[in-house]
């Protein structure tokens, strides 16, 4: 049986979540995301379920992180929802949102967990989606501004940061395949236009 001692000393074990799936976006002054719009459209989701409460991680994060620590993990990858920090995707900052990620970060450190942030784990503010989302090349700058705000607050305590999760899956599944996400037609042009936005963003 493979055991932990078979891995190098410096090997880090971790687990991961994404913001919209666990936090509960009805709380803390978060703005609307494209998932909220998707879930609110009849016929899209079984039993019309949505992420307004989700796992209520917004309130239960201390208990959740206790579980992560008790499971023996070294690192915890979480995502910072842009709509929670900047409800309209740009401009005004929701201090409650920043405060939440600040508390979350400290709660990880208190438990000896290395915080590994993901800036985008499929939670697009509706206001940005309305302007084309990943198909609008201005998004590299919009996300750059968001990055300055969120990392200006918690960046001093991050172990690592990735701009976006699973790039291939994001473009291949999330943006293109209707069954995985808010109605986008499946055609090549949209895919390549989205990929074109990642390169400048990743470099920023």
């Amino acid at each position: 049986m493979i055991q932990r001692r078979h891995f190098p000393e410096e090997f880090l074990f971790g687990t991961a979540t994404s913001a919209y799936q666990i936090e509960g976006h009805a709380h803390g002054g978060a703005g609307r995301t494209h998932w909220d719009s998707f879930a609110a459209t009849p016929g899209n989701v079984v039993r019309a379920e949505h992420g307004q409460l989700a796992c209520d991680h917004y309130h239960l994060f201390e208990q959740d992180l206790d579980l992560v620590a008790a499971a023996g993990f070294d690192t915890y990858r979480f995502s910072t929802s842009c709509a929670r920090v900047m409800p309209e995707g740009r401009g005004a900052v929701n201090q409650e949102g920043l405060d939440f990620y600040d508390r979350l970060t400290d709660a990880m450190l208190e438990r000896g967990l290395k915080p590994a942030a993901t800036l985008y784990h499929w939670e697009m503010p509706s206001a940005l989606e309305d302007q084309g989302g990943w198909r609008n090349r201005d998004i590299a700058n919009w996300f750059g501004d968001f990055t300055d705000v969120i990392m200006g607050r918690i960046g001093d305590r991050m172990y690592s940061v990735a701009p976006s999760t699973s790039l291939g899956a994001l473009v291949g599944c999330h943006i293109l395949k209707v069954h995985m996400r808010p109605g986008c037609a499946n055609f090549v042009r949209r895919r390549v236009q989205c990929i074109m936005c990642f390169a400048p963003m990743e470099q920023r």
Partner: protein
């Protein structure tokens, strides 16, 4: 983030292994579009020829100035 003096910045990628059943060229194209498209942009400041061969007409205007 670099201007905030942050380090250990990276990307999260999900790659797939393209194992051809009978068409090696198709597997190569899949590998180019699904995997190397991203790696090329990030590490080599260019996109694979196999990608551009078919997709260049669909790229947005000015795409080739992004990576300089």
């Amino acid at each position: 983030m670099r201007s905030l003096s942050m380090t250990n910045l990276g990307a999260v990628c999900n790659f797939e292994y393209a194992n051809p059943a009978d068409d090696a060229a198709a597997a190569g194209r899949y590998d180019a579009i699904y995997n190397r498209f991203f790696m090329g942009g990030i590490f080599q400041k260019s996109y694979p020829d196999l990608v551009l061969e078919r997709l260049e007409p669909h790229l947005p205007k000015g795409w080739d100035t992004d990576l300089i």
